[in-house]
């Protein structure tokens, strides 16, 4: 009986020591606020620096999620140190509570956090990339501990849980580079001069104010024949992926202006032109 009482009193004292006092609560709050402020300030500064870094823009933003993880993991570590003496019984107790919390419904959040760590270190995509995941296409504006925020072309902000990295195929259009390949299609009447149309589209592409061309970033112009129309497809790199749609619009507008001037017309009405790119 005496042994039982002694065991109970030891457990009670351990639990009591695990309950933070007022001073410890203030310390914890300060650690959390400090971590939050560090992350926010670093995030702000790195984004500012990235804007002046030109082609290294995305390389700089790559540091942001990594930094968040380091700061928040450090904050959690210091909180644990504040609450417990880092002895084995306390760690066991904490692990038990943590495991129970995960089992009782935090497992998704935990999976998201692990996903965030994987994203930060493996870098399947980075802040500033254009990605397609879970049917959502857009620019990554933030990689948080729990979710990745993506801004779609129509300016909607979509939060994709980081856990999706384990389940979904993720396509990055630029893979960390500032430039990105853009495909531009125009469809012309099959009776029109396709060679001339190709020349015009090529000129419109390479003279665009958004284009970037180098030996590793070439452009191509291709033609494909369909029953009721011909498709002229140009592929080239936009110098900053944020200008993807402006690039496409500018090239198309200028090309059509010249095509019409040269007597090249769109396909006859009544024939359906695909609005989605084949292949």
């Amino acid at each position: 009986m005496a042994v039982l009482n002694e065991t109970l009193s030891t457990d009670a004292s351990q639990i009591a020591s695990a309950i933070p006092e007022m001073g410890e609560i203030i310390t914890i709050v300060l650690i959390l606020v400090g971590a939050y402020l560090i992350v926010k300030i670093a995030d702000f500064l790195l984004r500012r620096i990235s804007e002046s870094a030109g082609r290294y823009r995305i390389t700089v933003t790559m540091v942001i999620p990594l930094l968040k993880i380091i700061v928040y993991v450090s904050a959690v570590y210091f909180i644990i140190l504040t609450i417990f003496d880092p002895g084995l019984p306390e760690l066991a107790l904490f692990s038990g509570l943590f495991g129970a919390a995960i089992g009782f419904g935090l497992k998704d959040i935990f999976a998201d956090i692990i996903g965030g760590i994987v994203i930060a270190f493996e870098r399947p995509y980075q802040i500033g990339d254009k990605i397609e995941v879970s049917g959502t296409y857009g620019e990554v504006t933030d990689i948080g501990l729990r979710a990745t925020r993506v801004v779609t072309p129509d300016d909607s902000v979509v939060s994709i849980p980081n856990y999706a990295i384990f389940q979904e195929a993720t396509a990055s259009q630029n893979a960390g580079k500032t430039e990105m390949m853009v495909t531009i299609d125009i469809f012309i009447d099959p009776r029109s001069d396709a060679d001339l149309a190709m020349d015009i589209l090529k000129d419109a592409l390479i003279t665009s104010k958004y284009v970037y061309i180098s030996s590793t970033r070439p452009y191509t112009v291709l033609m494909q024949d369909f029953p009721f129309y011909r498709r002229i497809r140009a592929r080239g790199y936009v110098n900053d992926l944020r200008s993807e749609f402006e690039f496409r619009s500018e090239v198309t507008r200028r090309a059509w202006g010249e095509l019409i001037r040269q007597g090249i017309s769109p396909p006859p009405p009544g024939h359906v032109v695909p609005n989605k790119m084949e292949e």
Binding site: S52, A53, I200, D203, A204, K209, Y212, I213, S215, D240
Partner: protein, 344 residues
């Protein structure tokens, strides 16, 4: 055949671009009418390429057909001028053969067609930014087996060039004029920022010293003041001969040059896409008329407003309807446009 004068006799600047001159003349002297090794001389604006081209005209005057372009070429008439028995064609400012618009490559294509079948030796001079653009878009380098890039000059070369102009001695003063030298800035710390190719100089004030009228009184030997002055000019000019010459001329007060009074040019450009594009065109063409700019810009760009903003920011100047990059803004403009990859 051309006469055999020495290097100094051919060129107005006996020191500038000697290696490049030797390379060109070696190619020309080895030229026989079969398989000419056409030459492309590539240079930034104001880099001193005219010295080479004039030297060639002088040295091979009896062999040369000279075709200088002064504005955008709009007809193929220039090709009809390449006639007669002369075996070398020297073409200045070939960047005017291409225009960055739909159908804007017709003249350069016609020229390259002509060059491909000609037995003459073509010596052509191109703006480096147009050359890079045509290299990426038209593979123009494949037509020119000899490509000579005009390099940046160093401060020693600049010193020789500038001092060779004067018979009287130039006095170099390290500090501020008298009365101003409590915080004189006769030394500077060179700082290189991340992601930025340009170096910045932070002047370090010193609180001692006399009236600073000479190098000795500021603790700097006059010969050191001379070197400091040329180092500073060449750094600000980014090694560009023409820009350095302009800074020199602007800083020289009679026979005195004060290091502290060589103006540091602040570089803080922030432009929208249309402004950047027009600036790219002006940089690539060196001097372009408002009519040609309007054709390139198209209806999407409000030309007058954009040019006003570029002029107002001190990046371009206008002279008789033609726009060019301000020499003192060249380094800044180059750095900015390269950073945003409007030029490459």
């Amino acid at each position: 055949m051309g006469s055999e004068p020495d290097f100094a006799a051919d060129l107005s600047h006996p020191i500038l671009h000697e290696d490049e001159w030797n390379r060109i003349t070696a190619v020309v002297d080895a030229f026989e009418n079969e398989r000419p090794a056409h030459i492309a001389v590539i240079a930034d604006p104001f880099a001193g390429q005219d010295v080479l081209m004039k030297g060639l005209l002088r040295r091979y005057s009896d062999r040369v057909i000279h075709l200088p372009f002064f504005s955008v070429v709009k007809g193929r008439d220039f090709l009809t001028q390449i006639t007669g028995h002369k075996d070398i064609v020297v073409m200045d400012h070939c960047h005017f053969l291409a225009t960055r618009k739909i159908g804007g490559f017709a003249m350069v294509d016609a020229f390259l067609d002509h060059l491909s079948t000609s037995e003459r030796l073509f010596i052509t001079q191109w703006n480096s930014f147009t050359w890079s653009y045509l290299k990426a878009t038209r593979h123009i380098e494949t037509f020119f087996p000899v490509v000579i890039v005009i390099p940046e000059i160093d401060s020693k070369t600049l010193k020789k060039l500038m001092l060779s102009r004067y018979t009287d001695e130039i006095e170099f003063v390290a500090g501020e004029p008298s009365g101003n030298d409590l915080l004189s800035t006769d030394s500077a710390r060179i700082v290189k920022l991340p992601f930025c190719e340009k170096q910045y100089s932070i002047s370090l004030p010193h609180l001692f010293g006399g009236n600073g009228e000479s190098g000795k009184r500021t603790g700097v030997h006059p010969e050191d003041a001379e070197d400091i002055a040329f180092d500073k000019i060449i750094r600000i000019a980014d090694g560009n001969y023409g820009v350095a010459e302009r800074i020199w001329d602007g800083s020289l007060d009679g026979n005195t040059l004060r290091v502290a009074e060589i103006p540091e040019l602040p570089c803080a450009i922030s432009l929208d896409i249309n402004e950047s594009f027009l600036l790219t065109i002006i940089l690539s063409m060196e001097s372009v008329s408002i009519v040609d700019l309007a054709e390139i810009a198209g209806p999407e760009i409000n030309l007058k407003q954009t040019l006003f903003r570029l002029t107002h920011q001190g990046l371009v100047f206008e002279k008789k309807g033609y726009f060019g990059i301000k020499p003192e803004a060249l380094g800044c403009v180059k750095g900015y446009l390269k950073r945003i990859r409007m030029v490459w």
